[in-house]
Structures are given as structure tokens and as C-alpha cells.
């Protein structure tokens, strides 16, 4: 992952965490997102990729669920 991408993502995560703290909710999930996905791996195995794609699929499935009625 190149430095510019890391910087952009860290900024994103930190801003989201700050916004969460501002409204008094737990900021940890936003930081965990960074911890889970920003990597210094230089050699990726097929198993790494498969595990990552499984995590993304789980997130994707959750995000796709329509919002319940207000």
C-alpha cells in the first residue's frame, strides 16, 4: 500500500473516529478498521487474499441490507 493511500485512509479513519467521539459514541470500530486493513505486507499469499476477501464480503453484505423503516 503506497504512503499516499495510507495517509488518506488514516485521515478518513481518524476523522470518522473523531466524529464518533463528538457525538458520544464508541470510536473504536473506526480505528479497528484501520488496524485490520492497513498493512505493511510486501508479499501476499493467496490465503491472505482469501481471508481479506471474506472480511470484505461480510462487511459488504451488512452494508447492502436496506435500512429498516424509520
Amino acid at each position: 500500500m503506497d504512503p499516499a493511500t495510507i495517509l488518506a485512509l488514516v485521515t478518513l479513519g481518524i476523522n470518522a473516529a473523531k466524529a464518533a467521539i463528538d457525538v458520544g459514541v464508541d470510536a473504536a470500530p473506526f480505528i479497528t478498521a484501520l488496524y485490520d486493513h492497513i498493512t505493511s505486507k510486501t508479499t501476499v499469499t493467496q490465503a491472505d487474499l482469501t481471508a481479506l476477501e471474506a472480511r470484505i464480503q461480510a462487511l459488504s453484505d451488512e452494508f447492502d441490507v436496506p435500512l429498516p423503516d424509520a
Binding site: 470518522a16 457525538v23 479497528t32 493467496q46 491472505d48 481479506l52 470484505i56 435500512l67 424509520a70
Partner: protein, 136 residues
Amino acid sequence: MRTKFLLMLPLALALSGCGTTSILKGGSSLTATIANPVGINQLYDIENAYGVVLAVAVNYKRLCVAKTIASSCRGVVVRMQGYKKTADAALVALRGFVNKNDQISAVSALEAAKQAVLAFQNSPDFAAITYATGSK
């Protein structure tokens, strides 16, 4: 005739690709491998970036469902689901090309996936997550 053939052989090998380093580009060996421009490392990077964006979006949606944040979040989530569809399609295409080792298509698919993830990450609605979550 034999001399001509021997002179042509390195050129033919260099042009044939086959994962060898071209001697025309100063490769040290005819059999040395070159790294593919798009492989699982590049795919992993873009998927990781997408993972961060998606995780932030999911956490925002959870706050929205729990009614912890302003109700305007509902519109934000719906619009972001649209951006996500584009990013999903681009990533699926990229995965397919990388799996098939279709380098010509993978290069353009990688760029398309990067743009789609960036569009998701840089959308005005995403800014709403990071800057305007407040004031219920």
C-alpha cells in the same frame, strides 16, 4: 543461414513474452522472470483500501440504524450504497482478470477499481460521515 537464425533467436524470444526478461531491455538472463504488473499484491492493496472505506461506512450505518446520529444519515447510507455498487463491480472485474492472469485487462481494471473506491471514499456523502456525524 545458420548465423541469421542465431541472430534472430534472441529477438524472437524477447518478443514472444512468455514471462522472460527481454534482453532488449537489459535483462540478465533469457529465462529470468519479470513481475506481472498486476498481481495479488496489487489486488490485496486495493481490497485493503476498500476494506477501510467499507468498514467506516458499515460502522456509520450501524450508528444510523441505532438512531445514535442525526436521521439525515438515512439518505447518506442509501446514496453510499450506490457508490458501493460501482466499486463492487470494478473489484469483481479486477479479481477475474487477476485470477485469469489477463494482464492487459487487469491493468485497466486496476485503474477502474482504484477510481471506483476513490469515488466512494471521496463522495460528498462520505465526507458527511467524517465531518458531519454530529448534532442529533
